[in-house]
């Protein structure tokens, strides 16, 4: 595929980003914990991931010198992910304007984009560790949100929190099935 052939994806990502900034979209997606955590945040990460092909070859090559095997990408993405897993951050992102800005900037640029740039450079082991940790995180957080008798966010309702927990268990399970299927029947590059 030529560089020009890859352009539609970044353009789509940019369009999606602008659409998500619109007040009605924000109001809807930030009105419930489930939508913010499991739709809005993943979409913002996806925007960054899809932007990766738009990064000029020269810059990508330069960054790669600091990103052997995609390790730096994984470290950065994990830390930013950790930050947005704090119930406190989810709360503040709805009420504090500067935290909302931080969300819309950091999730695409410091989580999605590094993953998009680093993923092709990651070997089997790094990808495996990353995916297994992702699955474990969904299970751990899902379980916490499901059983917590107190509200973890002041801005969201308890039944919403428990629904988020259930969905996280389902998502963790789906990623697990996907990884297992890939291991059993998938094709791997010889690298």
């Amino acid at each position: 595929m030529t560089a020009r052939g890859q352009r539609p994806l970044p353009a789509l990502a940019a369009l999606l980003f602008v659409a998500m900034l619109l007040p009605p979209a924000r109001q809807w997606l930030e009105g419930s914990m489930t939508l913010q955590m499991l739709v809005q945040i993943p979409l913002l990460v996806g925007v960054g991931y899809l932007l990766a092909p738009a990064i000029p070859q020269r810059i990508d090559a330069y960054l790669a010198r600091w990103n052997h095997g995609g390790i730096t990408s994984v470290v950065l993405a994990s830390l930013v992910g950790l930050f947005w897993m704090l119930p406190r951050s989810l709360d503040a992102a709805v009420t504090e304007p500067w935290m909302a800005i931080a969300k819309f900037v950091s999730l695409p640029l410091l989580l999605g984009l590094p993953l998009g740039l680093g993923w092709p450079r990651m070997g089997f082991v790094v990808r495996g560790v990353f995916l297994l940790e992702l699955i474990a995180t969904f299970f751990r957080l899902g379980w916490l949100y499901l059983v917590s008798p107190v509200r973890l966010c002041n801005n969201f309702l308890l039944d919403d929190q428990q629904r988020s927990g259930e969905y996280m268990l389902v998502i963790g399970g789906l990623i697990f099935v996907g990884v297992a299927a890939k291991l059993l029947w998938g094709r791997f590059d010889q690298s």
Partner: protein, 205 residues
């Protein structure tokens, strides 16, 4: 060389990320905004705002006019069927347990409604009576202006969200204001004995 550079970059990101996470959780103490607001007031007690309140008897008082006394504050709405019922019962129990200091005027209980459109003085009085409470040392009041309500909620760190049944859900707790008019402590609701104990300690000091 790329391996060394990667190590360097990763270590740098880890250090910065660790610092950010430490700051964002108050040194890994506060993972929720509720814990954070409690830590905040203990560290740096905010002064309560100067706002007018209309009491259950229809008189206007200013929140700052309660200075010189300890004030135990909760936030309620009288149509509430969940937490505020517990809070109302708790305040009625506190009236008994802290009858002495309440009669001496060293302490006052204050329920502030965040639903002033519905909670008229009549409703507020009925709310107190529902729990066998009486007006001695327990003020139930509503803010008179929207801006005042917002300022109160902001200072006390109370978040009110509509629930799916036409009511509200809020982070119900018991807020303690010292005689200098500063919000000094926030404790869990649901345990009047513990609150009475805390207040006796404050008053003995």
């Amino acid at each position: 060389m790329p391996i060394l550079r990667t190590l360097l970059a990763s270590a740098l990101i880890l250090a910065i990320g660790g610092a950010v996470l430490t700051a964002a959780t108050d040194g890994f103490h506060a993972f929720t905004s509720e814990t954070a607001r409690r830590l905040d007031v203990q560290r740096d007690p905010p002064p309560v705002p100067t706002v007018a309140l209309e009491t259950q008897s229809g008189t206007l008082i200013n929140l700052t006019s309660l200075r010189g006394r300890w004030v135990v504050v909760d936030f309620i709405y009288t149509r509430c069927l969940t937490w505020c019922l517990a809070l109302g019962g708790e305040f009625a129990q506190l009236q008994d347990q802290l009858a002495g200091p309440l009669a001496d005027g060293k302490l006052v209980l204050l329920s502030i409604s965040f639903d002033p459109a519905h909670d008229t003085p009549l409703q507020l009085g009925a709310y107190q009576q529902r729990f066998g409470g009486h007006a001695d040392g327990w003020i139930a009041a509503r803010p008179t202006r929207d801006a005042d309500l917002r300022q109160l909620l902001r200072t006390f760190g109370v978040t009110v969200v509509p629930d799916t049944m036409g009511g509200y859900v809020h982070n119900a707790a018991i807020q303690i204001v010292d005689p200098q008019g500063r919000l000094v402590q926030i404790v869990d609701a649901g345990n009047p004995q513990a609150v009475a104990q805390i207040m006796r300690q404050h008053l003995a000091r």
